[in-house]
Subunit: 642 residues, 2 copies
């Protein structure tokens, strides 16, 4: 059972409930060699705070002594670890050393017998150099074995490993099949060679294609990913679990992991590390330790690097800024830059879970920022939903934000001559009336632009002008200032924002008869929109978008057919939602697939009767899949506006 | 007395000798308030390893009690600090609170009297909003006061503060004047408002214009710069010293510094910090401390962030990779990205100290990497120094490196048809014969290119083809494979590298008569060049460039007039250098201004007689200014090749 506590696009902080406790994700599981504890499991739990580890059931099974102890005492006692224990099945050994001498059934049964919390099917490791045919064939074997494992698992949770080598369609196919089975966790397998060879570009494709096929309600584990430098990237793409054998393997090899790479002790010129393991050590003192002592210090150093980075990843998710951490991290190596650049290919998929707005401002930190899904979200909506109030456009360059303050006098002048002011921003064309919505106002760009972003902005503006059907387009300073046309800036703005946020059809339903605009005395900004005496919309100061009021919701329900903006709940939850309680996933019957996280929604019963307004936390695919958690944060039920 | 131990462009690890010990730079001096010790100076020394601090003489002078103690005991005893003590003079107070009631003479005398190691002139803080005239006038006052301070200083070292607001020419003028005075350290002053307002773009101009005017042999101190996030950038531009009052000021305000920004305790959702100050604390436990206790923990946390980052900066300097750290750091905020992008404007100045080669590979981590001076160095040299062996060019796309291996068969085919193979790389045009020199082979680029770098490469290739006078240019796959022209790839390569490295004139002197090429049996690469039976050049495997042999040096001396490639030493050092000892700055009489760090040079006596070959560590301006340190790492003297 997995629930999402906080999300940032595909990234999420989750709670994974197991019989050995609740594991907060993203989490990394240190790999513990059952033969030698480089860092004892008890210390992993007490000192480092690891609540889960992974060990290898195949090694245990093949060692008479370990096997006997594991069967007798159970894994938790044998390892002296009270947290969650996951076991691998021998698949990785088959990748390393060729065929293994066990069957899937034997391995699943053995894992059950030794008390593993999360066991693993004996899947087939799809090597990156395999042909597509070879890969496809082996996936069928893995799927068969998976079905057997699911039938056998009993109380044990089971890993359903997504294979498919570097073939995105095979990855997605395998993931889709796995998603239909009674699986608890989805490792993405067969990726270690890609990571070892710095093939991060392909790793991005592998993760995204797997995510496309999987159920959102199961944690996704990137098998073998343990270097701190890729944790942020993999989390951004929706991975929840990681594991690291390298913390110990590298330590035995005198190699220290840092966020910007791995360094050999022999090559280092000073230690310069403030982590609890290194504290008090110099390079010289470390070198003077015995091999065993040194391995322990370095392994602990490596674990501290991992815990630090994971903590930072969580902080950035909470702040809604994970993308920005990834942009920093992917500058550590050109192969990571390739990964960052590759994400652009998947922006349509990422847009599905991209929130409508965030609390903080977006930082543009390089041309790669332009691949963020909030850019193509804006491009698409402004093209489809903007309705120009006049048929002439005045083009303005970017300036201080918000534009309507920076260009106040100039906007007024061109408007009086019948021109609609359009600013060429790094987002593309920004009509004056939209300049305060997220992310247009809530974003920071460098003063020094780059050719790529400038050219894209120009091209988008050109397309926009054509699409809008302007009959005349002028630079703002080429327009005579003798216009006398009258206009009401507040009315135009109120409607333009509604068109952008809810679409033209809903806006026509909302804006009826006489429109009164209530403005803040302090800021002069729009606060409420009153239509025919009814308060239909409130404008949020933070993101410049509307909160939908019950009266507004009623108008949309009356005019725009289902499923538009609807979240349909079952009869049981009608009384609760009507009282203003949140709508939970398990009670949702249906939902508009166009709803994005943080979007305004209307909660209705199965007869499309209004129950409440609120903001969606999850999208349709997620709501359908989760058994627990809030689908809609309800603002107020049944017209009893708070 | 300041010496450079290790350099990376303008950045340097130095040793600054003072009467209170040797200070390794880059160093940050914590600001200690003489009234309250947030962290006691003894702890700054013992626990954090700070070997220098800064305190304010104006505050001491204005407090009867402190004044009496300071005059009686001396500053070191009063603060209980055995390291280097620098004092500020009241200038910053005048910026904060308006005029101060002391004279320059009083302040310099008082600083001497209390035993300051490095005192400061009472300069005039040039505010960023001042007019140019106002700024220019105030600089003259500062310069007058500086002369007085220099005359008065005695045994005390003195800070010569570079002012000039945001006017680069005034900064450079002020720096040049200061450089002629008997000053020991050069703070760049008046920059705190720029940093507070995130005007990092202008900060780059201020630092570079100051550096242009200053002597390389004095440490440069960026006054008031203490946030870890700008230490890498400022060091890259040649700053050696920093100071931080904010570690304590922010702590009193419950603000924690991190490498990616400053965060209020109240806004943080978890602590997640492994530094020795935070270790054992949670956000909750920190909040529960008394205000005083909490301030101490946070101040110590802030200091640990600073020491971590400074250690990292030093590591990157030692590895010759500081540029790459800066590129990562400047992604933390769009204003820092502006600073990174601004550096491009100064690449001509940065090229002067850019080494000819480095030990490691260059990482391209974004379009901003293209501003690195090694790019324009290559562009300039290939345009000026390449001599095409045929008058037809075959154009190849970028591929796996080195190109001569990736395109081996294709290069041969087009050459047999009389075409010179040219690869369009991110560096611009790369003739086949140059593909193994630094940084062409020793660099990593992402597979996914960007428009800016692609367009630049195309444009440079176009210019190159025009400049070289090719009469025919074809894509490599448009060329018939029936050529029969003979060519000697080794001969072409040997000469092309020499042209690139030493220029055409020197190459004509070097390559005389019969040329024999000795190749490595293992790698098949060129090792030695023999001309008329004399071993003139050896090719280094690491950077693909030549080591000049004595026989080669003799030919250059005989044919290319002084000062080309020469470093002239005085008579005293003739015997030492001839024996193969290094050439030290203080004995150098003259030097070719075109020599760059790590370049091959010929050490001669004042009659242009050959003494030794070696590699320059410093450029002419530096050698002239340093009293200590190695100018040329001598390889072998007087023809006794090692």
């Amino acid at each position: 059972m997995f629930e999402v506590v906080k999300r940032d696009g595909l990234a999420r902080i989750g709670k994974f409930h197991t019989r050995s406790g609740v594991l907060e994700t993203p989490a990394l599981l240190p790999v513990v060699n059952p033969k030698i504890f480089t860092v004892p499991p008890r210390e992993l739990y007490d000192e480092f705070g690891f609540r889960a580890l992974i060990t290898n059931s195949y090694i245990i099974k093949n060692n008479a002594d370990l096997k006997e102890r594991a069967l007798e005492e159970g894994l938790h006692k044998m390892l002296d670890f009270e947290g969650v224990i996951m076991t691998d099945s021998g698949t990785f050994q088959s990748h390393m050393y060729g065929e293994v001498e066990v069957t899937n059934e034997e391995m699943v049964q053995f894992q059950k017998d030794i008390g593993t919390d999360i066991g693993t099917v004996l899947d087939i490791f799809t090597e990156p150099y395999w042909t597509k045919e070879e890969t496809a064939k082996s996936i069928e074997v893995t799927l068969e074995r998976m079905q057997v494992a699911c039938d056998m698992k009993g109380e044990m949770m089971i890993n359903g490993v997504v294979q498919g080598s570097v073939y995105p369609d095979l990855r997605e196919y395998c993931a889709e099949k796995m998603a239909t089975m009674d699986v608890d966790v989805h490792p993405i397998g067969g990726v270690v060679p890609l990571m070892e060879q710095y093939r991060y570009l392909e790793l991005v494709d592998v993760i995204v294609s797997s995510k496309k096929g999987l159920n959102p309600n199961r944690p996704v584990h990137l098998f073998g990913a343990g270097h701190p430098m890729i944790l942020a990237l993999a989390t951004l793409l929706g991975c929840d679990l990681f594991d690291s054998a390298s913390y110990a393997k590298f330590a035995r090899d005198d190699r220290l992991m840092f966020i910007d790479g791995t360094f050999r002790l022999a090559d280092m010129q000073s230690l310069d590390c403030n982590c609890p393991a290194c504290r008090g050590h110099t390079l010289e003192s470390l070198k003077k330790l015995t091999k065993d002592q040194r391995t322990k210090v370095i392994a602990r150093h490596n674990l501290y690097q991992i815990t630090s980075e994971l903590a930072l990843v969580k902080r950035y998710i909470r702040e809604g800024r994970l993308w920005e951490l990834v942009e920093m991290r992917c500058r550590a190596h050109p192969a990571l830059l390739d990964a960052l650049r590759r994400i652009k290919e998947h922006s349509e998929f990422l847009e599905l879970t991209e929130p409508i707005s965030r609390d903080g401002a977006m930082f543009y930190t390089g041309v790669e920022s332009r691949a963020r899904p909030l850019f193509n979200r804006y491009e698409k909506r402004v093209m489809e939903r903007y309705v120009p109030p006049t048929d002439k456009a005045a083009i303005f360059p970017d300036s201080g934000k918000p534009y309507s303050r920076a260009w106040a006098a100039e906007f007024d002048k061109v408007r009086r001559s019948g021109y609609t002011p359009i600013v060429i921003s790094p987002f593309g064309p920004v009509p004056a009336d939209l300049d305060e919505i997220y992310p247009l106002a809530q974003s920071l760009f460098p003063k020094l632009t780059d050719a790529e972003t400038e050219n894209t902005a120009d091209a988008l503006t050109f397309d926009f002008i054509e699409k809008m059907g302007f009959v005349e387009v002028k630079e703002y300073d080429e327009i005579d200032n003798d216009g006398t046309m009258e206009y009401d800036a507040d009315q135009l703005r109120a409607r333009a924002i509604s068109n952008y946020q809810f679409g033209i059809e809903a806006t026509n339903a909302l804006f009826r008869g006489k429109i009164d605009i209530v403005k803040s005395r302090k800021t002069g900004k729009i606060r409420n929109v009153i239509s025919d005496g009814e308060h239909i919309l409130s404008l949020r100061a933070g993101d410049g978008l509307y909160t939908l009021r019950a009266e507004g919701a009623a108008r949309i329900l009356a005019s725009v057919p289902s499923p538009f903006m609807r979240v349909v709940v079952n009869d049981d939850s009608v009384p609760f939602v009507s009282e203003g309680r949140n709508a939970f996933c398990q009670f949702v019957l249906d939902m508009d697939p166009e709803i994005r996280p943080m979007e305004e929604v209307i909660v209705v019963d199965k007869n499309d009767k209004f129950l409440a307004t609120g903001r969606a936390l999850l999208i349709k695919k997620e709501v359908e899949s989760f058994k627990k958690g809030i689908a809609v944060k309800v603002r107020s039920g049944n017209g009893d506006e708070a």
